[in-house]
Amino acid sequence: MIEYLAHLLIFVAIFAILAVSVDILLGHTGVLSLAQGAFFGLGAYSYAIAVGQFRSSWIAGVILGMVLAATASLLLAIPSLRLKGDYFLLVTFAFQLIFTSLAINLERVTRGSRGITGIPRPTLLGYQLQSNSRFVMLAILEFGVILIVLARVSSSPLGRILHAIREDEILVASLGKSVVKVKMVAFSLSAALASVAGSIYAQYIGYIDPSSSGVFLSISALSMAIVGGLGRIAGPLAGASLLVVLPEFLRFVGVPGSYAANVRQILYGLLLVVVAMRRPRGLMD
């Protein structure tokens, strides 16, 4: 029982971090993106390869993922962040599809659709975190750190500019600030956080494949951030908690495992539609 609760908590922590990455971009800066799944996957795969194959330390694996994600996000952002919202969204969607396609096709690196197995759990002070109840403490710690980062950024001068951009880009530009540069900072920060979530996921599950980082993960992440409340510090945690725990009740109702993933996605999509209907004038309060 404890292992099951710890498992839930770990998932909440992972997806709360992913939701934070969405929130920084959408909730605080007002930029919508569908690439979270790709950055999550980038973090997961780089961790899997660095730690699983090359035996580096788990911290190095996570940092590698962050660096790769931030770099990829900047490469993506440089030509496209100055475009209008819809176009930028399309570019991120294309990027997401590219990532999935690369994950499937670069067999020598990613082992294709079969995925990478045997990713080891991290070791803390020489002690490997095999059981869920031990791992959850690390996960909660990591989430805690990220939450503090979010709070600090939000109340910092950078945070103020992000919020200003969310409200009125043109005004910010007219005051002489480079909107594009600031958005790039937010975007790369968001990508790095998403990759952390991916790394933790990889080290927890021990297995990663292309399907765990597709478009639906991006939509799920959006759903968690939006349902939880955009722009609020507690939002991502609330959204992730709800959306991780709610589908668990499906088990008790008797939905078979093979359907569970699809039903979960339908639930997330439904929540998005419901929230949109209840707050038509903007998903922020």
Binding site: L83, L89, L90, S101, L222, L272, V273, A276, M277, R279
Partner: protein
């Protein structure tokens, strides 16, 4: 080489249909309707399920189109119209559309399973003309596709309803101010557009297989084609679709197939950076 061109034109017509339907919806409803990607698959599955009931191909074909249209109609009436009436901004509509996309796609997976299905059109016969080989299904798609595209263009340019659609796309406030009902036009466009998307899905299914995710890549192609042709330009979208298919087939003929997305992505970035208003010059209204 000629074979590559023939295949490209076939795919291009499907992209063109999908792009046309998307640009119609985008210009009238004024938001990026993501669930359109799912409509493609819905059309294919709608045809498949009727075909499995052994009612004949024609019935299956019509159901595919009808299912697509029905989806658009329902989505507009139950979600988007309500949202617009409550003053929703386009981002909210977009997010609702994303939610719908997730719901519909997963419903398809749930209901039909993720396995690959086939849509048996005509009994597969290969027609050889010189160095070119075409299946009769491809010929069918070509004929149906081209006719639909022509009918649409005629409708959009010559009929009153068609002109209303273009009017709403250009200036919705003026349209309303003149006393016309834009809600009705939007409903029509959504239904018609989704029907065409369903049609495109059926045609695609005839050529390749049916999987729940079949809409994704074609959706990306269609949206890039729309941008290439200029948003709100039906002819532009069609030509964009064909052009994109041509370049895509030539590209994958020289390089490997799975670099396709990267290729499309590069085209997208290039167009957006260089000429975001579309590659067609402005000859007037089309």
């Amino acid at each position: 080489m000629l074979q590559v061109l023939v295949n490209a034109v076939h795919d291009g017509i499907i992209y063109g249909l999908f792009a046309l339907s998307f640009t119609l919806i985008y210009s009238t409803s004024r938001f990026f309707y993501f669930a359109h990607a799912a409509t493609f698959a819905v059309g294919a599955y709608g045809a498949w399920i009727v075909l499995s009931a052994e009612v004949g191909f024609f019935a299956a074909f019509v159901s595919g189109v009808a299912t697509g249209a029905l989806l658009g109609l329902t989505a507009e009436l139950s979600v988007f119209r309500l949202l617009r009436r409550r003053g929703a901004e386009s981002r909210t509509l977009l997010i609702a559309g994303l939610g719908l996309f997730a719901i519909i796609q997963n419903f398809i997976s749930l209901f039909f399973g993720d396995d690959v299905k086939t849509l048996e059109g005509f009994e597969m016969k290969v027609i050889e003309a010189g160095s070119i080989r075409v299946t009769n299904n491809q010929t069918f798609a070509f004929i149906v596709g081209v006719s639909t595209l022509c009918l649409c263009l005629i409708f959009l340019n010559l009929s009153n309803l068609g002109r209303s659609i273009r009017a709403v796309g250009e200036d919705p406030d003026l349209f309303e101010a003149l006393g016309f009902d834009s809600d009705r036009v939007i409903l029509l466009t959504m239904t018609l557009g989704s029907g065409i998307a369903g049609l495109a899905g059926v045609l695609k299914a005839l050529d390749t297989n049916i999987t729940p995710l079949m809409g994704y890549q074609t959706f990306l192609m269609a949206t890039v084609a729309t941008i290439m042709g200029g948003i709100g330009r039906p002819l532009g979208a069609i030509l964009g679709g064909i052009a994109l298919a041509l370049v895509e087939h030539l590209f994958t003929w020289s390089f490997a197939l799975h670099w396709r997305e990267i290729f499309v992505f590069s085209v997208l970035i290039a167009v957006l950076l260089i000429k975001p208003e579309g590659l067609l010059r402005k000859p007037g209204r089309l």
